[in-house]
Amino acid sequence: MQFNQQHTEIRRTVARFVEDEVNPNMEAWEEAGILPLHEMFRKMGDLGLLGINKDEACGGLGLDFGYQAVFAEEIGAAHHGSTPMAVGVQTTMATPALARYGSTELKSEFLAPAISGDRVSSIAVSEPHAGSDVAAIKTTARSDGDDYVINGTKMWITNSTQADFLVVLVNTGGEQIHRNKSLLVIPTNTPGISFSRRLNKLGMRSSDTAQIFFDNVRVPKRYRIGDEGRGFVYQMEQFQEERLWGALSVLKGLEHCIDSTLDYTRQRQAFGAPLIDNQLIRFRLAELQTEIEALRSLSYDCVQQLIDGEDVTLMASMAKLKAGRLCREVTDSCLQYWGGMGFMWDNPVSRMYRDLRVVSIAAGSDETMLSIICKY
């Protein structure tokens, strides 16, 4: 990928936002267990960051995914995993299908305010008994005149307790499991929707995650994105950007782990010399830097393919897989060199160790990525 002046501009804007608005408040949000999403997104909307690759008609910048990729990479400079994930849900997980297949009316009602930062969105696919196995979901939307009536439940839904609307994958009828699903937009104030308490998680503790229950929830059919029965295909398409976001948005966080570990091991004395004088530590960190750089190159190549309109399923799955593996390897190795300090709750590496463990699990587990790669 080649970067031009405008890429650099976006990179600088995001970097400043992270430095001024995210990192100084991050510890307080971790303590509170929730992010002030409406406030945060309005600020980002004002900066034009929530619709970089969305249509200008809806308030977006109309740029290609390469610019969005820069945004993903740079928002990853946040010193915890929750902010990049929450932002990713808003721009790259819940809204791509809406932007691509939604009616003009639906887009002006939901997409435009998501881009301006006035409305918080969330994507609801997983269910208690269907994680990576998306085709096995059980939530149904029964046709009733001009409406759908939705029943079921969705699990592990990020941003959900603050969301103004959800994009939900449901069964709309038929036997063939890849052709019987649709994507619906459901405002969270619709009667019949309820939420579990916020789930208590190993990491990503600033991020609100909940289970959602649908009890005879009624929405008009015009809230459906695109064609009936095409929801599975739309979601699979949408997954590619989600996975690519996953890979891009961890790069800086992993590098921050290495950098802070380098700083620490340079200061910390043991046996009469700085820790970093141990060949083993230097070598290990060098090797991890190599792996992160390989992930970056792989992700950029994939972004370029996406821009060129090619099928990125293979490359995006590879990038996501490698990201998941690295998140575990890098955080684990770095933590070790902090000794007892690494065991403290507020340690930067310890936080990433907890937060990024989810990368191998969410948006399709490592094993699901491997399944996809095998089929190519």
Binding site: M155, N200, L202, F271, D332, F343, M344
Partner: protein
């Protein structure tokens, strides 16, 4: 696996602990860990079972014998409650009772040991310093002789149980820089100039409290010097060997729980139309976990046998310790992966153990220090 070194007594001791863990600890482990406490009745119950008494004379309330297999079995069984924090809050006691029973004056032993060994009071070993980690040779806390007292100055950190501790064994410099100038002192919190603050935001081990201790001209009667002046380093070193042994044993117990939880979940959970356990990658993960558990168990038995029968096998203890925590790291990681999203939600032992892996890998000497030490012990 059937243990070649089993005996009637060892089986009975293990069974006693196991039954107590199953009935009295397991149902509450999650609640206590989240509540940052380990109730006093647990200390007392373990005391009554002889958990703290290895290698200590009966007249002080000890067992009057020692046995490496039983020490290991006690730790292995205790962590099966699902929180190694509860084990840390109780089991780590033994690193301070060793020096007290070997080195303290008769009066101190008669006064303190029965209290500790019965579980009524908590004792702690204080070696690590904020600036030094495992590097005992650079210790900065000093004790100056002043008439009938030593004046203690400095601080200690990462002291497990230090908030509730009633008796402390504190290492301080009385001589020159280096390993030869360290002495051990018996210290009590009501002495003037002694303060402590909690280190309460830890990744894991929530059931156990951890403290930083500060000494500001704290006056210690000369009788509180434990053993000879400037000879404290060796006493600390000997002690580390038992700490490392029980860390390996506790890691083994945690690995077994990870495997059991994985198997239970994999049998129940359906994905892509069949139980998770029928997927070959999951089956092979289970085979790998089980093989590592067997290897660590065999190695642990070998080392216990050597401790009982031969000279203290320092080289093997080092290698056992880092091998056990590497294996634990592998098992906890694989168990998390098998449990998927369910493992990420707090309240299950796998999630808790995943957060507790690193303290096992670092405490008692990190894996790197263990390798350095092992190679030196090999004479290279």
């Amino acid at each position: 696996m059937k243990n070649p070194f089993d005996s009637e007594e060892r089986r009975a001791f293990r069974d006693t602990i196991r039954r107590y863990v199953e009935s009295d600890l397991k149902p509450h482990a999650s609640e206590w860990d989240e509540g940052h406490q380990c109730p006093q009745h647990v200390h007392k119950a373990l005391g009554a079972m002889g958990f703290y008494g290895f290698g200590i004379d009966e007249k002080y309330g000890g067992l009057g014998f020692d046995d490496a297999f039983m020490r290991a079995a006690a730790s292995e069984e205790l962590v099966r409650c699902g929180s190694s924090g509860i084990w840390a809050a109780t089991g780590i006691r033994n690193i301070s009772t060793g020096p007290i029973s070997r080195l303290a004056s008769e009066a101190i032993k008669m006064r303190a040991l029965p209290e500790i060994l019965s579980g009524r009071e908590v004792s702690c070993l204080a070696v690590t310093e904020p600036s030094g980690g495992s590097d005992v040779a650079r210790m900065k806390t000093r004790a100056h002789r002043d008439g009938n007292h030593y004046l203690l100055n400095g601080s200690k950190t990462f002291i497990t149980g230090g908030i509730e501790g009633k008796y402390f064994v504190v290492a301080a410099r009385t001589g020159d820089v280096g390993l030869g100038g360290i002495s051990l002192f018996f210290v009590e919190p009501d002495m003037p100039g002694f303060t402590r603050t909690p280190l309460d935001k830890k990744m894991g081990w929530w059931a156990s409290n951890t403290a930083t201790l500060y000494f500001d001209n704290c006056p210690l009667p000369v009788e509180n010097l434990m053993g000879e002046e400037n000879r404290g380093f060796l006493a600390i070193m000997e002690n580390f060997n038992y700490e490392r042994l029980v860390i390996a044993a506790a890691s083994l117990g945690m690995m077994k729980v990870c495997l059991e939880e994985s198997v239970n979940w994999a049998r129940e959970r359906q994905t892509f139309g069949k139980p998770l356990i029928q997927h070959q990658v999951i089956r092979h993960k289970i085979a790998d976990m089980s093989a590592r558990i067997d290897m660590i168990e065999s190695y642990l038995n070998q080392v216990c046998w050597m401790i009982n029968e031969c000279e203290l096998p320092v080289e093997q203890i080092c290698k056992l310790k880092f091998s056990a925590t590497r294996a634990l790291e592998f098992c906890a990681g694989e168990a998390m992966q098998i449990l998927g999203g369910a493992g990420f939600i707090r309240g299950n032992p796998v999630e808790r153990f995943y957060r507790e892996v690193k303290v096992m890998a670092i405490g008692g000497g990190s894996e790197e220090i263990m390798r350095d030490l092992a190679v030196r012990q090999m004479g290279l």
